[in-house]
Symmetry: C2
Subunit: 433 residues, 2 copies
């Protein structure tokens, strides 16, 4: 399994060499602020969705350099003894604020703000980016699929198309974004995501006939199960299914062919056989666009795999984690000075930031506003940063169900054009004050 019980080495080598050199100059202890943000949304996307917050906080608690980790670093000469001693005592002792998990974000939104010494902040860069870039990519794609599906439930079934641990995180992120269930059992255990599934083509092929396979499945899993009807001939399979299960049959699944046309024919056939309550679930290379196209078809649920776990064209969302301010020395009462590099094409905006979402009279979001100070509470604005870690203690933990509810509310607040499937610009302007 190669899991060593600590997340500390899920870190780029250079974070530790930077700490070594900064311990040498003394600057490692300078009070600093790091910020995570996206310079842009994935091409054509109108909003992004923050996800990974809960997983990041979990991983933060396991971010410890124990003997096993220190031995590796020492044996391989990654850093010197002074640094090893510092690492052995490392526990993040600063503060973290962030957008609530499930919240919408836009270019420049300060999604995560990390305050501490330079060394204790920089060391979290790789892990924070890994978690948020992955989970936000999945949730951002998932949210559009949920919008496209309307009231119809979505089943996440992409585990086989992504790394086995990413699969668990993907199931979690999809659930935050509004998917109904996942195929991934570990996501059920680890996060309470509802899981489901019945059978694959292999089950039908295993038995001597489709009839034998169906009757076995019905016997064992009950009439409310979902029968997969496209192994041989769909029409014959549907007939057999209803004959064996009666009109109480829960659902049939179609995984190939023209899903819309087939669903139409199957609906007619089911209705003619009296199975008017039997649902039709379609699967097979669906994405937000094909889901939207199927809105007119008599489909009762969608299973989505590859396009979900690969972020539907955007498998990562290019969040960056930047030093935006630091003191001139190590004393805690020195002012934090904004810093930003000036390299071509990758401008950064120095200084710590706070943000609010501005709403119009009807409660519809109209702008993302970013301030270089904490703005006073005001009617028509909703503050976006919430405390996640205070003096090293996690204070922002919550369940995926809470994040899912936040997401639902955040999407409901967006202007109508944000929810279009066509390519477009960010649905809200980011206003820097």
């Amino acid at each position: 399994m190669n899991d060593h019980g600590s997340s500390a080495l899920l870190t780029d080598h250079y974070e530790l060499t930077m700490i070594q050199a900064a311990l040498h100059s003394g600057a490692a202890a300078r009070p600093s602020v790091f910020e995570m943000f996206a310079r842009r949304l994935p091409e054509g996307r109108r909003y992004g969705v923050v996800a990974g917050t809960g997983r990041f906080l979990e991983q933060l608690e396991g971010f410890r350099f124990r003997t096993e980790e220190l031995d590796f670093l020492s044996d391989n000469g990654v850093v010197d003894d002074t640094t090893l001693r510092w690492l052995s005592e490392y526990r993040f002792s600063g503060n973290v604020w962030g957008y609530g998990e499930g919240e919408a974000y836009f270019p420049g939104s300060p999604i995560l703000v990390v305050e501490g010494t330079f060394a204790e902040g920089v060391i979290l860069e790789t892990l924070a980016l890994s978690v948020f870039n992955h989970d936000s990519a999945i949730a951002s794609a998932a949210s559009r699929m949920v919008v496209a599906a309307g009231e119809r439930p979505l089943i996440e079934m992409g585990s086989r198309r992504t790394h086995e641990a990413a699969a668990v995180a993907s199931a979690r992120a999809a659930y935050v974004a509004g998917f109904a269930t996942s195929s991934n059992l570990e996501a059920g255990r680890s996060y309470g995501v509802p899981t489901g599934g019945t059978a694959a083509h292999a089950f039908t092929l295993l038995h001597d006939s489709e009839r034998h396979a169906f009757s076995t499945q019905l016997d064992s899993l009950g009439a409310q199960t979902t029968l997969l009807v496209d192994t041989y001939d769909v029409e014959r399979a549907v007939r057999t299914a209803v004959e064996l299960a009666g009109p109480e049959l829960g659902a049939v699944r179609i995984d190939s062919g023209d899903l819309g046309k087939t669903a139409g024919r199957v609906r007619e056939q089911l209705d003619s056989l009296g199975a008017t309550g039997t649902r039709i679930v379609v699967t097979g290379d669906l994405d937000e666009h094909s889901i939207q196209a199927l809105a007119v078809a008599p489909v009762d649920g969608y299973g989505v795999g590859t396009s979900l776990v690969t972020g539907s064209g955007a498998p990562t969302v290019s969040l960056v984690y930047k030093l935006v301010a630091r003191a001139h020395g190590t004393s805690a009462d020195l002012p934090l000075e904004p810093v930003a590099k000036r390299s071509v094409g990758k401008p950064s905006r120095g200084g710590r930031k706070w943000s609010v979402r501005r709403l119009d009279d009807t409660g519809t979001a109209i702008a993302e506003e970013v301030f270089p100070y904490e703005p006073p509470e005001a009617v028509g604005t909703r503050p976006l940063l919430r405390p996640l870690v205070s003096d090293g203690e996690v204070v922002g933990g919550e369940s995926v169900h809470d994040a899912r509810e936040r997401h639902r509310a955040a999407v409901a607040e967006l202007p109508e054009q944000a929810l279009r499937m066509s390519r477009g610009e960010a649905a809200l302007p980011t206003v820097f004050h």
Copy 2:
């Protein structure tokens, strides 16, 4: 960390409900063969690279339903008590053959062949696909980058752009495919991948001046370190770097702007300052195409992040895991009968398969040949399946260094057109006998 010490729940819900129903019909114990293969390569790719074998074998050994896993399944009503008892005793007891890790593959190549009862084979589907689809996608992209880079070393630095555990697997897969080093420390610990890295822009911004940052880094990490020279002004930074380090300076890194032009100017400047041995490393949104375009620039190494960990446009490689043969009953001496579904657009080829790579007189590969029987050894053919698991015991374990060597040899054997960066067809025809 949500790692529970067993890989068993990294599994789709329906694998277990299929087992429940197949235990009910008795077909769960039918001798069966499952095969993993790709119906096609990612669009435009000329060959694929098998990776994940070593990780799959590791995970297989941790695939156990212990009390913790069984309690989850029981509490959530995933399967019935008979199935829980079967799962509690599950250990894969069959045989697995597979392409060696690092080997090239083509459409229809039987990359993995799993022989056992239906239940013990089907339960591995999700995990096997997760591991191989991810790792092979990364290795397939990495291999093209290695070809494009020629003799110049490649540094894997994409951890921040993918799930934190996928990052470790990506570093491993990239190393198998020929990358020189990775930034990922856990890949160093878990797999012995060489790691490296020095400093980011944050380190320069932390200090009061670039000069102070450079002198600190040189003091602490030595003159052989790599200085990042594009935080403010490249020319001034290079001048400062050589002034402080002398001509022994190991390398400079450029992360922005027109990398080719900047590298040319920096090379001239370094040479004029006497630092003729100082290397130039370029990073920043590189992929196989930009690496190839930089072949004429005086670049000594490439750092690759996003495009590597996202498979350069193909984050998954659409491997499938199919039941291809099963006995008509449960007796071990019954013949295995080919099975295949007949659904639209997704044809499968039933029956167990063996394969060889056919070579011409010069040792160049000319075809992938797939047989419905084990072909006799013959001059000009190289068998591709090797034993990985025998009667449940892992027999095919090897180091990433062995896989890396196999990959080097496999690529060297491919025809010249396989190594072009342009979009094309599979470089070898797959011939089914």
